[in-house]
């Protein structure tokens, strides 16, 4: 969007619009809702990792005084799932259970304790099946039966999805290399750990269902409720309650949301279900554990000539976003480094664990960890400075990658400069036990394609202006990332008023137009653009009415809008003039990303209208005797395009660093005896704020041509470089490689022991399992200078039909 005016509110460090309500405790979260005659629901979950359900007998539970309804699998037979290709979940399972925590039955009672007691009296007879608890096991044919039906998976063993792509001539790439290196890495799974547990409240009155939920995407919950409950969408209303954190963990539709809705329909009373902390660990959809193998060819000088990836993702029991996650472990490497030939093979398997899905960085922190460390090792092999090796391979702004991803604004260089200068990386003290590490990354500002196929906008905003002021309506869900504040700022900027003067109604499917939700770092970019369009249209109406009154004709640009004035009139007067002139005032805006993907099947995962960039230097102290690592300081620079609110951006960056450090050092969704080892806030270790080092944040602005005011994402990207920077710093400190996350002290000692015995100084996976990835789809790379999108790009595909190699 073209630069038009001097910005008044955009770019200023203003407090969040929801800050006061949240810090004073008056914000109403889903669990705070108490409706008259409300019932409480508890869900009975499988105690077994893998079993067939022989029978469910709820007779005794139904007889307990205070119990108003009991549901079992028979009551909710329709399958659902977030992706159209993975409709593999049921709100309550009736045939089999696939992980400890799989929902089987539900009770609504006048008190939560009664519901809980009723669960204990439900008799479920199970026939136990062999649990599959690792990637290696899932790749083998199971002794009894696969976790999911073959009719659904159409895959051998417990495979869920396989992808295999080759872009450019890989063989030639490796032939051009002076040095080729292979490494294997493992990234352990971890969970989101939001402060707020999931919670939902449903009412059903006059054939209309209303659900308040702690969700990141009211629209997907809306679609799922309509499908599973067989209600027309206009009979279902989903409202996003004030949200206590998601990080990707509330992006799927969940069993408890469907269950309370059905219970409200059955009982005619409001029903609430708030998950316990233990249940949140089972709802999960967190970071996939991923095994990775990577092979790279480089010239003597360190230029990459070709790269080949193999990944294997442990998906847990259900599909969730997994069919996309497997792509994400292979697609975004090429938007930081210019790789002329690139092959990527990925597989996602089912195991009997809580289902994995999107967590901050969705599918990309794992390969980013591996890639950055792998390049560090190549630099050591070649005797080069790792920063310089990485730097000479950086992608250039406004280029198209080998796998057809269109890179526009790109602040990699500037981010790198900032953190190198601030940290003194080059002049760092070289002393055993102290080290610094450097890493970079990139992330999407929203996915270019919707998760279900349609041609409609990804975000829509309505603006209402009348004699009482301005209200913006948008389906976007404020999950703590600041999307409400961004909406208010954009509208305020365009209408020349203060952000506090913009009233907001968001995430209510009866009142707000559709936004695809708070995930994929898409809201500022997409809802921001939609708001910008709606606000500019409204501004025009106000200016026209004022112009008429002022007798200005022709060029209306002399009518200034700002500081609460439109031309000679106050904003309020302008609203009255415009209402008198045009009648009821409303305007709309929407945003649809252009078609950007390449000419091949599966090209929809990875393209984004813009990529954010980050660079990080991390300093640590590591004790060779204990293996304990203490992070001293993190310098991080993030190219956000434009900081619409620098306070919010810095908050996202610091939060990302915090979360990245937790993943790097301790967080682990570990299993033992077929069960989650520690589904508790005390035992699942995540850093406290006394464990948090100083963070120095640098905001880099590259003014993206497509983002609102040039803005790109900030919510996920800055997490990515933190993890590999830690492992690189550890190598700097102790000369060891920990090729595995999290880096526990025991692993550090093991690597040191290997080093002292003259073995390779590392700890990590020994090898990568044999996987049949099937035949690759071969794709000819684009012209790297081809920036075309949308119709133009598609016309080019049609012309070049013959170029397609697949």
């Amino acid at each position: 969007m073209a630069e038009r005016q001097e910005l008044k509110v955009v770019g200023r460090p203003l407090p969040r619009v929801d800050a006061a309500a949240k810090v004073t405790g008056v914000a109403v979260y889903a669990d705070d809702l108490h409706l008259p005659r409300m019932l409480h629901c508890r869900i009975l979950r499988s105690p077994h990792p893998h079993a067939r359900i022989v029978s469910v007998d709820a007779t005794a539970a139904r007889r307990i005084p205070g119990v108003k309804a009991v549901l079992t699998g028979q009551d909710l037979p329709i399958r659902f799932g977030i992706l159209p290709v993975s409709q593999d979940e049921r709100a309550l399972e009736s045939e089999k259970v696939r992980y400890v925590g799989d929902p089987v039955a539900a009770v609504a009672a006048v008190e939560e304790e009664i519901a809980e007691a009723a669960l204990r009296s439900i008799r479920v007879e199970y026939e136990l099946l062999q649990p599959v608890m690792s990637i290696e096991e899932a790749l083998q044919e199971p002794p009894d039966e696969p976790i999911h039906d073959r009719a659904y998976t159409r895959q051998p063993a417990n495979l869920h999805r396989r992808v295999n792509y080759e872009f450019g001539d890989l063989e030639a790439g490796f032939a051009a290399a002076d040095h080729v290196r292979e490494d294997v890495f493992f990234f352990q799974g971890n969970t989101h750990l939001p402060m707020e547990q999931h919670s939902a409240v449903a009412t059903y009155v006059d054939g209309r269902l209303t659900l308040w939920s702690s969700t990141q995407v009211v629209h997907y919950v809306h679609r799922t409720l309509a499908k599973v409950l067989e209600l027309p969408m206009n009979r279902v209303r989903v409202i996003g309650a004030v949200h206590g954190g998601g990080f990707g963990g509330k992006t799927d539709p969940f069993s408890h949301e469907i269950v309370v809705a059905r219970l409200a329909m059955v009982t005619g009373r409001p029903v609430k279900c708030t998950l316990t902390r233990e249940e949140v660990f089972y709802a999960h959809r967190g970071r996939h554990p991923v095994m990775m193998w990577v092979r790279t060819g480089v010239t003597r000088g360190g230029r990459i000539t070709g790269q080949h990836w193999r990944t294997a993702l442990d998906g847990g029991a259900y599909g969730s976003y997994g069919a996309a996650s497997v792509f994400y472990t292979g697609t975004l490497q090429t938007v930081t480094y210019d790789i002329p030939a690139y092959k990527f093979e990925g597989v996602r398997v089912f195991t009997n664990k809580a289902p994995c899905g999107p967590k901050r960085g969705h599918g990309t922190p794992q390969p980013r960890f591996a890639l950055e460390l792998h390049l560090e090792k190549i630099a050591v092999d070649l005797g080069l400075d790792p920063v310089e090796l990485k730097r000479q391979n950086f992608v250039k702004p406004f280029t198209r990658s080998v796998n057809w991803l269109r890179v526009t604004s790109c602040g990699l260089e500037e981010c790198t400069e900032k953190v190198l200068a601030a940290s003194g990386y080059r002049r760092r003290e070289r002393r055993p036990g102290r080290g610094m590490g450097f890493a970079v990354s990139a992330y999407m500002s929203g996915a270019g394609t919707a998760i279900y196929w349609n041609d409609m906008p990804h975000s829509e905003v309505n603006l209402k202006v009348d004699r009482t002021g301005v209200t913006a309506f948008c389906g976007a869900m404020e999950i703590g990332q600041g999307s409400d504040s961004v909406l208010a700022l954009v509208v305020a900027e365009e209408l020349g008023i203060g952000p506090g003067e913009v009233r907001l109604t968001t995430a209510d499917t009866d009142l707000t137009p559709v936004d695809l939700g708070s995930y994929s770092s898409r809201v500022t970019f997409m809802a921001g653009n939609a708001a910008l369009e709606a606000a500019r249209r409204m501004r025009l109406l106000l200016v026209e009415a004022v112009a008429e009154k002022m007798g200005v004709r022709g060029d209306l640009s002399e009518i200034e809008v700002g500081d609460g004035r439109v031309g000679d009139f106050s904003f309020e007067e302008a609203c009255e003039l415009a209402t008198a002139r045009f009648g009821a005032l409303s305007s709309t805006g929407s945003y649809t990303p252009p078609r950007m993907g390449g000419p091949f099947k599966g090209s929809g995962v990875g393209p984004s209208p813009a990529y954010s960039y980050s660079a990080c230097v991390l300093a640590l102290e590591a004790d060779a005797r204990t293996g304990l690592v203490r992070v001293e300081r993190v310098w991080i620079a993030h190219d956000v395009g434009r900081a619409i609110n620098p306070l919010l951006v810095a908050g996202q960056v610091e939060g990302s660093v915090y979360m990245g450090l937790g993943e790097a050092l301790m967080e682990e969704q570990a299993y033992r005896k077929g069960r989650h080892k520690w589904p508790s806030m005390l035992e699942y270790k995540s850093p406290t704020f006394v464990d948090m080092p100083e963070v120095e944040t640098f905001i880099v602005e590259t003014i993206d041509p497509e983002g609102p005011y040039g803005a790109k994402e900030a919510g996920q990207g800055p997490l990515l470089p933190v993890i590999p920077a830690l492992n690189a710093a550890l190598h700097d400190a102790l000369g060891i490689w920990i090729d595995e996350v999290p880096v526990t002290p025991e692993k550090v000692l093991r690597a040191l022991e290997a080093k002292s015995k003259g073995q390779p100084p590392r700890h990590g996976p020994k090898g990568f399992p044999a996987v049949d990835y099937g035949a690759p789809i071969r794709v000819e790379p684009p012209d790297p200078r081809d920036m075309r999108v949308g119709e133009e790009l598609e016309a080019a595909f049609r012309e070049a039909e013959g170029r397609r190699l697949c």
Binding site: M666, H676, S680, K685, T688
Partner: protein, 306 residues
């Protein structure tokens, strides 16, 4: 069951690790909130003194800094504001097969300590190996402190170590209904104390190993030393061999290392707490060294540092 601050008990009730018919709250007993005495005569701490009060009590910090430090290292600030020193000495033993919800324990199979008949950590074992996890017990025992118990059969004063038993289930040989009313710490009299704690994070976490030290020197050499460890067995584990070894020696780096080696021997961590138990076993030595070093450097002028 008795309850003081409830910081240990209430979460356990929620997870159904206990299902008592009656809870008897001690918080109304005002006289158990007092600290009396001083460094010269010894201090008496009422059982309801909170951990936060103990950690900051100036006479206590002066008299026995190691004890105050241990109290200040328990859990997190909000829990220290409520949790009591008496409750800390009586704190339940821990095991990550046991400190879980009823549903989780039912799913994995109940164990000996609650509702079941086998030990999941050591399935062949007839006993429970749940871990003694009090941060304040080691220094209190090393100091030779005493506790006063009051029950229907009267009052008795015992060394702090006396009520502990090497059993994850019956870890306290206290008679039912006996209330721990106070902890008496001896006069300072030149005794130095220190506590070192190992935990994953800088706050909240229980000790996965802890080392408490009390020692007295004659200006050059150690007259006597006592070392007690937390988190390495079902009771606070004393290391008498290390204490005997230290007697008559200067606290040089070599001596400290050798003592720590001896002290670590009886530590037997199992795979039922945070982090790998082999690593934990190796860390015990490091912790004991840290504690000894800290006790030694409380007055650097006197002690030889090699």
């Amino acid at each position: 069951m008795l309850v003081a601050g409830g910081t240990d008990l209430y979460p356990k009730l929620k997870r159904r690790q206990f299902d008592p018919d009656t809870l008897i709250g001690l918080s109304g007993l005002e006289e158990l909130r007092r600290v009396t005495g001083d460094a010269r005569s010894g201090l008496r701490l009422g059982a309801l003194v909170t951990l936060a009060e103990a950690a900051e009590h100036s006479a206590l910090v002066q008299a026995h800094p190691g004890y105050a430090e241990a109290a200040g290292l328990v859990s997190s600030p909000p829990l220290r504001n409520v949790g009591t020193i008496g409750g800390n000495l009586c704190v339940d033993t821990r095991c990550n097969y046991y400190d879980m919800t009823y549903e989780w324990r039912e799913s994995v199979g109940f164990c000996l300590k609650k509702d079941g008949d086998i030990c999941l950590v050591a399935p062949g074992s007839p006993r429970c190996w749940a871990i003694s996890s009090s941060d304040t017990a080691p220094v209190a025992i090393a100091l030779g402190a005493t506790v006063t118990l009051v029950g229907p059969e009267g009052e008795r004063e015992l060394p702090v170590s006396a009520p502990y038993r090497d059993d994850g289930i019956e870890y306290l040989a206290k008679r039912p209904f006996e209330v721990l009313v106070s902890l008496r710490l001896p006069p300072t009299d030149g005794v130095r104390t220190a506590y070192a704690k190992l935990r994953r994070r800088g706050s909240i976490d229980f000790p996965i190993a802890g080392a408490g030290v009390a020692l007295k020197t004659d200006g050059h050499c150690v007259e006597w030393a006592r070392l007690v460890m937390s988190g390495v067995g079902s009771h606070p584990v004393e290391a008498p061999a290390a204490g005997e070894f230290l007697a008559g020696k200067q606290l040089t780096a070599e001596v400290i290392a050798a003592a720590a080696e001896l002290a670590a021997k009886p530590a037997k961590p199992l795979d039922n707490a945070d982090l790998n138990h082999f690593w934990r076993k190796r860390m015990v030595r490091v912790l004991v060294e840290q504690a000894l070093e800290r006790a030694a450097t409380q007055d650097q002028g006197v002690l030889g540092r090699g």
